[in-house]
């Protein structure tokens, strides 16, 4: 849509025309300023826990388990040095017999962008019986972990406002 507009403007005589290919989604994900009616909506990135426990692939599971529980979480996000998400170790797997985080994790979890409505993700987590979902940037870097309890609270507050 946007490239066509840019080409058309150029054909109409506008001399210096550019196209921001990554668009609004990229701008929002980068946390840059926007305006409009949708801003009243609480987004996943607003309530995701940025202090979620993380670990590297090679770390011993016993250490990961101890650190994660000590931090008050029952899920650990496996990331690399760039905070790109490789997998999740949820409660049952944290207590498992695997030696390392890489062996214990469920690889390739579904991730969601920070601009997605937290209430919408509450429905999704209920539908799929998920206790949490990782929130990442477009290029897969961890923003935080959205807990179902936090998303449910946002959904309840929205419901209360609207009724």
């Amino acid at each position: 849509m946007s490239p066509r507009a840019a080409w058309r403007l150029e054909s109409m005589g506008f001399g210096e025309v550019y196209e921001y290919a990554a668009g609004l989604q990229d701008w929002i994900t980068a946390g840059l300023p926007t305006e409009g009616t949708a801003l009243a909506e609480t987004r996943a990135g607003d309530v995701a826990r940025a202090d979620v426990s993380t670990c590297r692939l090679h770390e011993p599971l016993v250490e990961v388990r101890e650190r994660t529980r000590k931090a008050g979480f029952d899920t650990c996000v496996v990331v690399n040095d760039e905070r790109v998400v490789f997998g999740l170790i949820r409660s049952r797997d944290l207590d498992g017999e695997a030696a390392t985080a890489g062996e214990a994790m469920r690889p390739g979890p579904s991730t969601f962008r920070p601009n997605v409505s937290a209430a919408a993700l509450a429905r999704l987590m209920a539908d799929h019986d998920l206790p949490n979902v990782p929130i990442t940037t477009n290029d897969g870097r961890l923003v935080g972990l959205l807990l179902r309890e936090d998303a449910d609270r946002v959904a309840r507050e929205r419901h209360d406002r609207e009724h």
């Binding site: 840019a6 403007l9 506008f14 196209e19 990554a22 609004l24 701008w27 009616t37």
Partner: protein
């Protein structure tokens, strides 16, 4: 016409470029980059010359690259 990333968008905005959101009007109302001008793709022919300054750079965008 040239594709640019958000860093170039920010630089061009500081230099006075016009940022044009070409999504339908209702989507423009919902959320847009601060300071954008809304001209839906279908309205470019009818509105661009009246609403944009041809002497200044223009940056178009929509939701993503799709």
């Amino acid at each position: 016409m040239r594709e640019i990333d958000r860093h170039e968008v920010q630089r061009l905005l500081e230099a006075g470029a016009q940022l044009v959101n070409v999504l339908p009007a209702e989507e423009f109302e919902e959320e847009r980059i601060a300071g954008s001008i809304g001209i839906p793709l279908r309205r470019i022919d009818a509105e661009a010359r009246d609403r944009l300054d041809p002497a200044k750079p223009v940056v178009t965008y929509c939701w993503d690259s799709a």
